[in-house]
């Protein structure tokens, strides 16, 4: 069923915009008052000649003590002002896991394995193939080694092996890129939704890289495909409390223990779409990193629709009739994603839209309120606020829905489609593969703003806004380096396999 078009959200947003505008004016009242006064003083001073100015100065009766006190006062105010500002969070660099070629799962392999699995019946095989044909995935997506066995090996040992492979590769590459010493990492946040051993994956990283004993480590689990941005949000909060620190954020999804071995259709979808991937991101609030940091984090907005039962149940882990556990995706997924996005952008909109857009929106709002019927509702154009969009590559349908909802062009969603094609749905790390695509294509310029949108079970919609601090020059070392020249590719609606 088609989701409601965007204008419907305006009704819920009116009061919010007015409140925000009022808050903006109140917060900056001082600036609004001081500036005209200062301008007036300067204008007045310009009218007088130098002698009169000197006479004026003398008449004020300032002696050395007064002057000194005033200067100190101004310095104290300036210092207090700068210290009260929130610490900037810089993204120094990031690295994505590049799978080896022997982990590839071309369509033919997928089809053959599905046929050979003892637990799939003929209908399930045909269903999975139909999904794959329309999925938007390419022939180079990768599954972990354990999933290449027939039947797949879902032991804990194999899951740990996959975790070590993807996470350590990504972190090794990040260390090589940034030159950071493991002992310098102060904060570690790891998110992996479907695999959570004890000791945690964060402890595994501490062990491998010999991180310090006073590290602040957090291991988030079960939070779905939007967990990458939750980790970034947590790292940002931690960096506000700890000056001069480095935060290492690792986002991944471990596929090995989650292969669904049953015949329930709603639960077969993840088998077809989820692929191996990981990303390691280095964040910092050190001022000296500003010189080499790639991006600066401007906003993170989190929206949780779990209070609504339909939204809560749309991505749900459960057991089928035979006791096989898997993740069931409901048919409402697109509609719910659209709703969650609308709620998210009512908060993001006022933070990022340029003043002209907000003014136009306010004017149209006021005009319609006052009864002028000629005015059509004005939909803010998000393309004016951002140069690049990274939409979670959940599947072709999600990207299509978001493109329609936000009124984006094919060029805006190209990064998402190509990342889905080359790497599949790598869950929380997909946003970083998409960012890598934009950089590898040489499109990232200094001053560009990037909007990352992630969706996940719960139902959550999280978004982050980054500003690029330096132009990224090609060629870029990363998972796209060998294949970027072949992209973009045209992805047909249906790839005929059977």
């Amino acid at each position: 069923m088609p989701a409601e078009p965007l204008p419907q959200f305006l009704s819920s947003v009116k009061l919010k915009y007015v409140k925000l505008g009022y808050q903006y004016v109140m917060n900056n009242m001082l600036t609004f008052l001081l500036i005209p006064v200062m301008v007036a003083i300067v204008l007045e001073a310009l009218k007088l000649d130098p002698d009169e100015l000197v006479a004026l100065w003398r008449s004020l009766g300032f002696n050395a003590l007064h002057t000194l006190c005033t200067v100190f006062l101004i310095i104290i105010i300036a210092t207090a002002y700068f210290m009260s500002r929130p610490r900037p969070v810089y993204l120094v660099d990031y690295a994505c896991f590049k799978p080896a070629r022997n982990c590839r799962v071309p369509f033919a392999t997928f089809l053959e394995h599905a046929r050979l699995m003892p637990f799939f019946d003929e209908k399930s095989v045909r269903f999975q193939v139909r999904i794959l044909e329309r999925s938007g995935l390419g022939e180079e997506t990768c599954l972990p080694p354990a999933n290449h066995y027939i039947p797949p090996n879902s032991s804990m040992e194999a899951a740990r092996a996959e975790a070590e492979l993807v996470i350590f590769s990504a972190i090794d590459e990040l260390i090589a890129k940034t030159g950071i010493k493991p002992k310098d990492v102060d904060i570690l946040v790891v998110n992996c939704s479907l695999f959570s051993p004890t000791p945690s994956l964060s402890a595994m990283i501490v062990n491998k890289y010999k991180l310090r004993s006073n590290i602040l480590s957090f291991n988030l689990s079960g939070m779905g495909c939007s967990a990458g941005l939750i980790s970034v949000d947590l790292a940002r909060d931690l960096l506000q409390a700890h000056p001069n620190s480095y935060a290492l954020v690792v986002s991944t999804e471990i596929i090995t223990p989650n292969y669904y071995a049953g015949n329930e259709r709603a639960m077969l979808l993840p088998n077809c779409l989820f692929r191996m991937g990981a990303a390691a991101v280095l964040l910092s609030n050190r001022r000296r990193e500003r010189g080499r940091a790639k991006y600066r984090l401007l906003h993170v907005v989190r929206t949780h629709k779990g209070a609504d039962d339909r939204a809560y149940r749309c991505v749900y882990e459960e057991e089928d009739g035979d006791g096989n556990s898997g993740i069931s995706l409901s048919k409402d997924l697109m509609a719910i994603a659209g709703e969650a996005l609308r709620t998210n952008i009512t908060t993001v909109g006022p933070l990022v839209l340029p003043a002209t857009e907000q003014l136009r929106f306010l004017v149209s709002l006021v005009a319609r309120r006052l009864g002028a019927r000629g005015w059509k509702p004005y939909i803010p154009d998000f393309k004016k606020a951002f140069e690049h969009f990274c939409i979670h590559a959940g599947g072709r349908a999600v990207i299509d829905e978001l493109q329609r909802s936000l009124g984006l062009s094919a060029a805006n969603v190209e990064a998402s489609r190509m990342a889905l094609h080359r790497f599949g749905n790598t869950s929380s790390s997909s946003l970083w593969y998409e960012l890598g695509y934009i950089e590898a294509k040489g499109r990232m310029r200094r001053g560009d703003r990037v909007w990352m949108i992630g969706f996940g079970s719960g139902f959550k919609c999280n978004s982050a806004v980054w500003r690029c601090l330096r132009t990224v020059n090609t060629p870029v070392d990363g998972p796209w380096s060998e294949c970027i020249h072949r992209y973009p590719v045209h992805i047909p609606e249906v790839v005929k396999l059977l």
Binding site: A80, R160, T198, A203, V206, S221, H304, E319, G458
Partner: protein, 475 residues
Amino acid sequence: MLLMELLVIISTILLLYSLLSFVWKAFDRWRNQNCYLLEYICYKPSDDHKLPTDLCSEIVIRNTRLSLSDYKFLLKVVVNSGISEDTYGPRCIVQGAREECPTLDDCFEEVNDCMFTTLDELFHCTGVSPAAVDVLVVNISMFAPSPSLTSRVVNRYKMREDVKTFNLSGMGCSASPVAIDLVNNIFKSRKRTLAVVVTSESIAPNWYSGTDRSMMLGNCLFRSGGCSFMLTNDPSLKHRAKMNLKCLVRTHIGADDDAYNCAMQKEDDDGRVGFHLSKNLPKAAVRAFSKNLQRLAPKVLPVGEQALYALRTLRHRLWTSKVVKVDAKSTAAARVNFKSGVDHFCLHTGGAAVIEAVGKALGLTKYDVEPARMTLHRWGNTSASSLWYVLGYMEAKKRLRKKDRVLMISFGGGFKCNSCLWEVLRDLQDGGVWEDCVQDYPPQTLVNPFMDKFGWINEENINTEGRNIPSHINI
């Protein structure tokens, strides 16, 4: 000219106003630095969850793969565990006999019962509406479904859309201070925030059904339990708060391979998943503990005690002819009197041996370790939430008075040792989950009823007549 003077006066007034507003902002931020504990509610399962000794032995015997020596080992562990007849287990094991093949619904039932019972009571006691919660942290180490347990809570209580949720997992028995650390850090950049933390452990999906002895210990010691607590940094709620967080120290020695591998969830030789506790565990615990104390001592001890410690260490270094490496630190630590800066000690109830060892290291008396030992006796090892049961005991015994300082210490897989120091804000006297039984504590004797029933298993020649021994055991 007049206009000029007027303008100068106006700009001076505005500058003064801005200075005052910045001073106010700084003061406000300083006021919001505190982390207050409003209330904590421990989980008390219903009586149909009880795991008395008869049932324990029945469950042990149900595992047909065990040999006689395994039984002897298990019973010895249980006898020395310090656990009573009143501890609780998950319903699917106690009543359903489904320990080897728990369904997802069994796991959810166990977790739902704990989370929702305690949260209902928490919201009722504090009078806070779930819609007022800004931050939600759920910490259950060995069960992480999709959608996460935080989403489960958000769905059940219809929390707001902008609630910040964090689902911590895999962080072991020391995860309570980790959750508090997370919330405390968020408080530093947000004003008037309310946070709810739920901490528990999931036993149903993690029962070990194999024959590896190092993994069977978990089955014997872990019991059902949990706690929900509410934290805030709003100064206006200070009068209702129970305690105020003074400092928190986290130590992670995972960099050392032995420490990392000493408590690990893995598969045994037959492919069954269990929680392996190695023989290196006590050594790793000691190292983590001493590292944690080194960082904790300056924050907790009064200046006088720190000076004394410095003097003692100096004297020891200068006047001792032999160079004693490791012992110097541990004996010097033992000579530090933590009781000068701390009034009450909440020790993680990892086991009788752990409590004794920590008590000895800190120089604690029987009175000081009593809450931890009694908690172990009444509730077993409830993993991350055990600290809150210990705190509940102290409160029920009316030991917590205004201005007292409480130190919580916990250990967990990884290997981590986390500690936090609280200051009590008012005289506390809630019975909580101990209300119906605290008058029976401490009991006259802690002799384990297992000893009476199963002591015969240690005999040389076992007389099998009249004993209820299953047929698959060869004696």
